[in-house]
């Protein structure tokens, strides 16, 4: 339903980049879940721009919880988070209503809302709205952690530079939890940062691939057919601006494999049923099989670049060019990681609540 996601645990998102505030309503979380304010701040920090590799728009991003929490615990009724927009420069954007930025939502919003959209800084389509998603995601992340379910995401590749593969997932997920720049191989941070700065100097931008793991999820989560775990996770992931691909397990790598190479044999390990390999990313028939959930998402290079681009004037219906200024990210992949973690927490929490009941997460 448009700006609402989820069945038993749902999130409703609102706000615009240059409006007064942005926020989200989290409904369905059971009563008695401790709110970990430090974790919210930690996750918000992962998403916040910092250093030279991100936009110079710097928001305090203070998360106010104005409903659904009392004495530090969820009350069971809707939790609303609000984040004020303080550092807005709306004059930067007035030109863009007539000359839409390529590969942004400027043009499609103009068509859909026939001129009434909030066009300032991407309006409702701005990546800025991922901030409340991260906040509510963090609330669910701690609820999931209480049941032994952990989520971690690293930059698998950034414009050709590769991080190492996941190895010991438990350690890797713990490692990523504390990293602002999410790579497993420490040396990658420098190389990737330099690559982002190189792009920045050229007035350009770069993208890459994020890889995520969900560990500790019991078998039996997910529904047949339309609410398969792949369906609901991808639904949530593709709602993040700039995500253009999602694959589970081997994903597109399955295309060159034989079935005998691709199948994951069942084996008993420590008196538990596991699979020897995990090519299917922990999901069979849309339902978790007890192995880690593994997926990757493709992150487009940021469309806001400083080089001159071709576009059209909507009022004159003629070709023209556009050279934007303002404050933009030469890469968002390192920040998008917190958003991927957040929407994964939302989708997994909802799937868990559907499979085991909403009280499961507070029990």
């Amino acid at each position: 339903m448009k700006n609402t996601f989820g069945n038993n645990i749902s999130v409703t998102l609102f706000g615009e980049s240059h409006g007064e505030m942005i926020g989200a309503v989290l409904d369905g979380l059971c009563a008695g879940v401790k709110i970990d304010y430090d974790l919210i701040k930690k996750e918000m920090d992962k998403r916040r721009p910092s250093g030279k590799i991100s936009t110079q728009r710097r928001e305090a991003d203070e998360v106010r919880i104005v409903s659904g929490v009392m004495n530090g615990y969820s009350t069971g009724t809707p939790i609303t988070v609000l984040i004020e927009n303080t550092n807005t420069k709306s004059k930067d954007y007035s030109l863009l209503k007539d000359t839409p930025r390529p590969s942004h939502a400027d043009y499609t919003a103009e068509i859909k809302y026939h001129g009434f959209q909030d066009y300032r800084g991407g309006g409702h389509f701005s990546g800025r709205l991922t901030a409340p998603l991260v906040a509510v995601g963090a609330i669910l992340t701690s609820a999931l952690a209480d049941k032994g379910i952990y989520i971690g995401t690293h930059i698998k590749t950034l414009h050709g530079i590769c991080d190492r593969d996941f190895s010991s997932l438990k350690d890797d997920v713990a490692l990523l939890s504390d990293k602002l720049f999410p790579v497993l191989n420490n040396e990658c941070e420098k190389a990737m940062t330099e690559e982002i700065l190189r792009a920045k100097e050229m007035g350009d931008s770069v993208g890459g691939i994020l890889e995520s793991a969900v560990i500790g999820l019991d078998a039996g989560v997910g529904e047949p057919w339309f609410d398969s775990l792949e369906s609901t996770l991808s639904h949530a992931l593709f709602s993040i601006p700039g995500i253009k691909g999602v694959e589970f397990g081997l994903g597109f790598g399955f295309a060159d494999k034989y079935g005998s190479e691709a199948n994951d044999p069942f084996v008993i390990t420590n008196e538990k049923i596991c699979t020897k390999t995990n090519n299917n990313g922990g999901i069979n028939g849309g339902i978790s099989n007890g192995m880690p959930i593994i997926f990757r998402v493709a992150v487009r290079p940021t469309p806001s670049i400083f080089r001159e681009q071709q576009t059209v004037s909507l009022s004159k219906m003629e070709n023209t060019t556009l050279k934007i200024d303002g404050r933009h990210d030469p890469a968002i992949i390192h920040r998008a990681r917190a958003v991927v973690d957040a929407v994964t927490a939302i989708a997994i929490a909802d799937a868990v609540a559907t499979a085991f009941g909403t009280s499961y997460l507070g029990g």
Copy 2:
């Protein structure tokens, strides 16, 4: 909602592989849409197994429409399609309840339904349930065609063998409409068929990549955030058994591009606003921009192979091996194409109805 997909136009799916019948309920299609029975049959034929490259289970797949249609037109109330299962051999499968087939839903269904699931031939998780999806998809396909919206899918790669790229989309989509084996380059059919047969001889299976185009869709379809076109299309696509990756436009190919290479400049062509390139697959900010929607899905090699595989005995909790017999597909990608077309029609029809009103498709 589990076995229901869609907001304004919805599909509810039911049945099991070896039950009495399978079917689907299509709700929300407006009154007055002509039912093209020939098209239903044509699409069903594309999905039906034929020749040596598919399972030897041959069903008549006669589609009965038992509600929602009168005198050849939709009445506006739910359309129910039923397909009988006639050619079932339930004894083939009894062993599989205790020794789950690797990478099938046997194990996860056992956990989720704790032994009460219909385990015969995959039960509710069987690819057989895609038959009613194709039937209702075909009904929507002709409704969309009346508004100039067409869908086409080809096998982009099969186990390393590549079809040619899309060129003139209008011609290519028309070409694919009549093809049982969906390739653009005729020579690929032979090579791919041989590759499937080679795998079959080895008791193995192969997968590949399907590529789809939706042409004629106006700009302005899709919703911000959680009902982005990518979100709803991927949701529907990942509900198809065996789909493990979905990408739009360049998809994972974005990872190595600069923003300046990836962005699609706007240009005016024939007094219409287009983009010079279509790297974003016709979608900006989750909303159609008037260019063709382009996406690819990764199809896993069929997990039902005839080679001996490792698995476990659930009753004895010990490792064992499994060598299945019965009737299975050495590849499903050529058949999955009709299912991809169908769920695409469902997701696009729902998005169009949401954007323009349900009466749009009958107007």
Copy 3:
């Protein structure tokens, strides 16, 4: 969503009065619930016309379950019930398309579906579609009974003739379970039957009030605000044709009371918290309080009467008269009771599944 009701346990309804068959899909019921075929038949019999007080259209109403059940137990996947229409006389109705029957859906369907609706015997709007509702309701009724939750409905008044009030609810609900004509005071059956026959002789029809009790429901079921028990129950109840009023507890009787008369004091009885009175019908703040749920519904007299009525010719846009023949009920209230029980079971089962998890009903 139009023809689907429910969140965690949902029912999708399809079919037309004179189509090939009617049916429903029940999704979300957990695996392992025993299907009580005798109860399904018993509930269907309560709804079936019999004797002189009901329509002479007599259908076998054989319920076929074609999915979601194996070896007599629910599998956890969608349960589909089908009922064939065998005793249709479509010629009876052809006139009604142009001259809509007063207070039927003939006119509104014509407007909504602009002539494409199935107009035969009320089509999709026919009371006949309550048959599959009763069938799926019966499946849930036995699942609820396994958790000690029972539903009973009696005719509170029929055209001025009153049954006695509920007294010992446990006994009364058990008594009603076995009654085809649902009154608590046996003498009422004769009086009410005679009243119906009197109306029939006059070519007229009568209505009344049904009163229902749900006993054994734990406190804590129902959600705040929009999914209050009153909201979801009334939503389901008002979908039954001919229901024009719903009230809980004292209902409209609250209008003349002081708060001090209306409030239900809490008291401890047998170490359990109860209320001394039950004016609120077991619901406080939209949530069950552990007392019996009590509600009443107003049943309109059947609109299909045999007396000449004023109507219009849609084609000629002029006033005219209509005198219908065919087979109609002089009263439906005694049959509607089974439908009220059924949709109550559906709404309560969904609310219970939402509050306690879907596995609760199978545990």
Copy 4:
């Protein structure tokens, strides 16, 4: 979905009586609807307590719109309204957690949220949350008025005192639009006010019946079966605290009528199809027939009375008594009227958007 109502136009409600703020998110309203701030204020004033007949808690109830509106018009994306709680006296309520007030949600919330609920002043269940409902309802009210659809509600009866019946609906609805105390017969205001004050003096409270009319709604709005207009309207109405009955047209009055008295004959008046009577309240088969929608709701006397009442101590599990102080309404029916208007606007707007497309309300 718990705190969200609506399909194409939806409202999500959040907040607690003594929390920082309360609010609602309105999604699905199309772009370009002028926001009538005066109307919002006017409707809020109708709901605000004033004089001696209402609670002495007096809130400014300033409505802030923090998203979805730019330059005075809807942008097409979610509209969020926030209302601060300024005049809270939380200490008034601390006792009530252990000794639940009869017929309030105190006890059911305690059970459902096992002690974590915000118990201050009714928390999330407080009538205070109807304030944001009124605000978003007012936004939709002006959108509906632009299409000629108007809503009006009067106090039909208050503790035995009756207002006159609706006569000329157009005039009556216009009259009510400007009335703070909603009666058609001016003399009733004094009598009803005195009755409320009498109850107040006794430390007691009174209820009554509200009657509403929706005029100007075209035929064809509403869906068959589960989204009948009666179903969706009653769903919304029963979510208002204190509403215990809903009836359409004659409602419970149908019980004593013959079909020949109850049916509404079709007649052509001024070249339009109307019904001679409107016993069915403008709805046939769940769909609007072009006549005014007429319904009544039963409003319970406020449960917060100042007389000593029986209740239990939850901690001691023993019977006790309770005598509340604090600030309470001796009647809410005159204030509930604005809430009934608001949720009617929400339900009708959603039904209209579903029937005619979301762009209808902005066109």
